[in-house]
């Protein structure tokens, strides 16, 4: 079978403030072999009427993925590397539970195909020791895949955070968000952020 050469010491670091909305990551994402030439990454204007701020969002690969737990068809699985995979095409019944329940708003449903698809950390690449497509093309450092030490050297005034609180729910993820130095969590609670 496929031989994996996963580099366990490398992690994904996301810094939404660095996103310049260039969509290069989308173009690269569509090149990922596991997506069927569809981009799974999200690049949004956060509030177009108020500001030019854009944000990029990949799957955060939660430790206890809500998408997988709410799937009625057992179609979403997390593997031993902590990667939460796209829906199993044989099982997905296109109910949208995962799309609506993911706290990060990541999964996409392709209705005609009756299939949910999402970022799977470019499994074809990362399992072979390469970086995800989006991280190889991001020109502004909003998306980075590498070692924690390298990231610390590049961003001395930031801390990688992989714990989130959505209202009362704590979520721990495999992917990190770069926060002000010393931060331990990112709170999303109806506008109350710290």
């Amino acid at each position: 079978m496929t031989t994996t050469a996963y580099r366990g010491q490398e992690e994904f670091f996301l810094d939404p403030q660095r996103c310049i909305g260039c969509h290069a990551c989308e173009m690269a994402c569509a090149e990922c072999e596991t997506n069927g030439q569809l981009a799974m990454i999200h690049v949004d204007y956060v509030d177009r009427a108020e500001s030019p701020q854009t944000a990029v969002q990949v799957c955060m690969h939660c430790e206890e993925p809500t998408c997988a737990r709410v799937c009625p068809a057992d179609a979403i699985a997390k593997d031993e590397l902590g990667v939460v995979h796209s829906a199993n095409a044989a099982r997905c019944i296109a109910c949208s539970n995962c799309v609506l329940a993911c706290p990060f708003g990541v999964p996409k449903k392709v209705e005609a195909m009756k299939l949910m698809m999402k970022c799977n950390l470019c499994y074809d690449r990362t399992s072979a020791g390469r970086r995800p497509m989006c991280a190889t093309v991001c020109p502004s450092g909003a998306l980075y895949y590498g070692t924690r030490e390298r990231m610390a050297a590049m961003r001395p005034n930031s801390s990688p955070v992989n714990e989130f609180r959505f209202g009362l729910q704590r979520v721990k993820t495999r992917v990190n968000v770069m926060m002000p130095k010393g931060s331990t969590e990112l709170v999303v609670d109806g506008g109350d952020a710290r």
Binding site: D44, I93, A94, N97, L100, A101, C102, F164
Partner: protein
């Protein structure tokens, strides 16, 4: 193992197996029409039925599955019964028979899946009644070239040997094998050439089912090859090797990839749920101001996530699940911006 045994599922599985065994006895007229040579196939089928019902019953107990199972049946037999029955029948043809959604994934996948699925389903439709003794054939008394087909012990129809009907009846499983092989080779091609598939597939879930289907089809065709071209000299080998592969398939049916055959009809219940949702109130995202799902679906998901141990309620009232996917992404970005802003530096 006993500590994880699901008693309710065990009850359903035992009941289903007992009913199936009883239907075999009744349908074969107290086993008088049962072919003893097929006993191993029968026991493997009974085991498969037990396993499938057990797994299905466990599956239905999961909160999200239970939601759609109950809602699907409730909606079908609601006051909209005629409309929902029509929807169900339309989707039965479109999604389960023609499998149009797989063609949308790719035309080659669609073709391969339709060939494989109908090859397998037709083979089951032929094999199961024969194994159960529900169908059997006899030579019409006083003739040497007319067969009588019997269904559940009742005479069904006659057909002459050597004719079109006889050719297709006796070779029906061969036609099924050809369909299966064509479909399997379509999928094998994909599995050994598609880089995405190569990266994510596993032997037991993706390749072994295809290998098993090739073995079943080839050994099945071998039986005809043997009696048509080898004067039956290899019959014992062909019969035993075919039986072994089919029985392995049946024993593995509840555990492996083919269980999706039994899960797929859930898509029809989901379709009724979504149609009911479209007709009702819509959930409007507080961020985008646009409808993104049915209110029923969002409320049901709050209940399901709660049953699963998640609590997405916001401290100031409302729920994180009230946001659309885009709204959730924006909320995260805003929270991140606010945290950076508070720290006095947007970058660091």
């Amino acid at each position: 193992m006993l500590s994880t045994l699901n008693i309710r599922a065990l009850g359903w599985a035992l009941l289903a197996s007992a009913l199936l065994a009883a239907s075999v006895v009744a349908g074969s007229r107290n086993l008088q029409n049962f072919d003893g040579a097929l006993a191993a196939y029968l026991f493997a089928t009974l085991f498969a039925a037990f396993g499938i019902v057990y797994r299905y019953a466990v599956w239905l107990q999961r909160p999200p599955t239970r939601l759609y199972w109950r809602a699907g049946w409730r909606l079908l037999f609601s006051r909209r019964f005629p409309a929902y029955l029509a929807e169900l029948l339309r989707r039965l043809v479109d999604e389960l028979a023609l499998q149009r959604f797989i063609w949308k994934r790719s035309a080659k996948r669609g073709l391969a899946h339709v060939l494989l699925a109908w090859g397998c389903l037709s083979a089951f439709a032929i094999t199961i009644p024969l194994v159960f003794g529900w169908i059997h054939f006899t030579l019409r008394a006083g003739t040497i070239d007319v067969y009588e087909a019997h269904l559940l012990g009742f005479h069904a129809f006659d057909f002459p040997l050597g004719g079109f009907v006889a050719l297709n009846l006796f070779h029906a499983l061969n036609w099924s094998s050809v369909l299966v092989l064509l479909g399997v080779f379509g999928f094998l091609r994909r599995r050994i050439t598609d880089a995405g598939q190569i990266a994510t597939q596993t032997f037991e879930m993706d390749l072994m089912p295809l290998v098993l289907l090739v073995l079943i089809s080839v050994t099945g065709l071998g039986l005809t090859w043997d009696y048509e071209l080898m004067q039956g000299r290899a019959h014992a080998f062909m019969a035993i090797s075919h039986a072994i592969t089919v029985i392995l398939f049946l024993l593995w049916l509840p555990f492996g990839k083919f269980f999706h055959v039994f899960q797929r009809p859930a898509q029809l219940g989901v379709a009724l749920y979504q149609r009911e949702g479209e007709a009702g109130a819509q959930a409007v995202c507080p961020h985008t101001g646009e409808a993104f799902a049915s209110r029923m679906h969002v409320e049901d998901l709050k209940q399901v996530t709660s049953e699963l141990g998640y609590d997405y309620r916001l401290t100031g009232g409302g729920s994180h699940l009230d946001l659309s996917p885009q709204g959730k992404r924006a909320a995260l970005a805003k929270a991140h911006l606010a945290a950076r802003n508070e720290s006095g530096a947007f970058f660091g």
